[in-house]
């Protein structure tokens, strides 16, 4: 049976070792990528063939926007575009939305835009989500998931950075860290 003194010693030791362990395992800034990785072409596909891979022309699409009009990727040529595949039911997608909005606000005037390609949800659901969360970048409805198929989307969210010439430059799967998002856009806008 432990005495009160033993318990006190155990508590103090736990506090000391716990604090040291927390300090040793804290998230150091060094674990975050210091700058975005702009991928070089890696595909075996013939150059110039549209593909959702770095170095290839981004597969074009024309989808219905939330405001009722249509948005074509090809019509955005000349801008840096982030094509983001997402859905409101996807927690990691929701978690990156504030970062997308923040980057959009910061770089929109310099020629950057986001096209949030929603996966098979109805316009009312998406519009309500955008309104609730104060999101102002363009969103389109991929009702049949045909665009997701042409981008070979296997996980949500998936993000494709498209440069001013319509070429896919970076493919990122999973929620985008703000640093990678801002850094990639910054690099592509400089070109």
């Amino acid at each position: 049976m432990l005495t009160t003194r033993h318990w006190n010693a155990l508590i103090v030791l736990t506090l000391i070792f716990g604090t040291v362990y927390i300090a040793l395992t804290r998230a150091a800034p060094a674990v975050l990528p210091p700058s975005p990785v702009i991928e070089e072409p890696t595909s075996n596909l013939p150059a110039g063939e549209p593909a959702p891979e770095a170095g290839h022309p981004a597969p074009d699409f024309t989808l219905e926007a939330l405001d009722g009009g249509d948005i074509s990727l090809s019509a955005l040529r000349g801008q840096v575009v982030l094509v983001n595949m997402w859905a409101t039911w996807c927690p990691p997608c929701r978690s990156e939305m504030p970062a997308l909005q923040s980057t959009y606000n910061r770089y929109h005037e310099r020629g950057f835009t986001v096209v949030a390609v929603n996966q098979q949800e109805d316009a009312a659901t998406v519009a309500a989500y955008f309104q609730e969360n104060g999101l102002t970048f363009p969103a389109v409805l991929d009702r049949t998931a045909s665009t997701a198929a042409s981008y070979q989307v296997r996980v949500l969210p998936s993000s494709f950075f498209v440069d001013k010439h319509g070429t896919v430059r970076v493919v990122y799967r999973g929620p985008l860290p703000q640093g990678i998002l801002d850094g990639t856009v910054e690099e592509l806008l400089k070109e």
């Binding site: 736990t14 716990g18 927690p91 990691p92 799967r173």
Partner: protein
């Protein structure tokens, strides 16, 4: 990652569904644990304390989640009240449930320590179920790893942090059930339950890819975990000096 189950026209979110099942499992196990530890009287108290505890867990879980993701929630405060089961955080749920459940017990002069023991005994298995739900919905995912038990998630191989939590909960359940077969001072199971919960958070949180952090990189979950361990030790110290007075009621 299987965030949705499609049943005809119905699309059910797996994370929320398993969380709901976990809540039902908890309510059932709580009654059994209370009866085991204190007979019908304690089981009645547990039944009555369940509703305030669940309400407290829901409020606390959402509040904590909203504060951690305040950048998103501050844009629309109505998100704090949104009917979305997945937007919950475990530390807040635990605090909220303990607070309202404890207040109910004090107000009704119910045996708080024995109720806490029953809750500690009932909690780990539902928690393991909820952790599996998090894995299916892709929440609380781990950092990338090359370890052989890494799981493919979100485009890469990651630590299955949700399964680590499930495993920790299963181990905690095993330890607590074994302990519950011996004569113990009321409150000791709760103390051990707190400590095991805290230890799991202390060890697993650094492996998460998107943890809540303080500005200096310290994991919020780890600090909470250490606080739980210390709370468990303090509670154990308070109760350990006393002689066992209650023999277990084995079924």
């Amino acid at each position: 990652m299987y965030p949705l189950i499609e049943l005809g026209p119905l699309r059910l979110a797996t994370g929320g569904l398993l969380l709901l099942l976990a809540a039902f499992l908890f309510s059932w196990l709580l009654g059994r644990a209370a009866r085991h530890l204190g007979g019908d009287t304690l089981a009645e108290h547990a039944d009555a304390a369940l509703l305030p505890a669940i309400v407290g867990a829901a409020l606390g879980g959402r509040l904590w989640y909203g504060l951690v993701h305040f950048d998103a929630f501050s844009a629309s405060l109505s998100m704090f009240a949104a009917l979305r089961l997945s937007d919950m955080a475990w530390p807040g749920a635990m605090l909220g449930g303990a607070l309202l459940g404890g207040l109910w017990a004090l107000r009704h002069e119910a045996p708080l320590a024995r109720l806490a023991d029953a809750a500690a005994l009932a909690l780990p298995l539902p928690q393991a179920l909820a952790s599996v739900g998090m894995l299916l919905s892709g929440e609380a995912f781990g950092r990338t790893t090359s370890l052989p038990w890494g799981l493919p998630l979100l485009g890469t191989i990651r630590h299955p942090t949700q399964l680590y939590y499930a495993l920790a909960a299963a181990l905690s359940a095993f330890v607590l059930y074994r302990m519950s077969r011996s004569p113990l001072e009321p409150g000791m199971l709760a103390a051990v339950g707190l400590a095991t919960q805290g230890l799991a958070m202390l060890l697993v949180e650094p492996l998460r890819a998107n943890p809540a952090l303080f500005p200096n990189g310290i994991h919020v979950g780890q600090v909470f975990g250490l606080a739980l361990i210390l709370a468990g030790l303090f509670w154990a110290r308070q109760h350990a000096a006393r002689r066992p007075i209650v023999a277990p009621v084995l079924e």
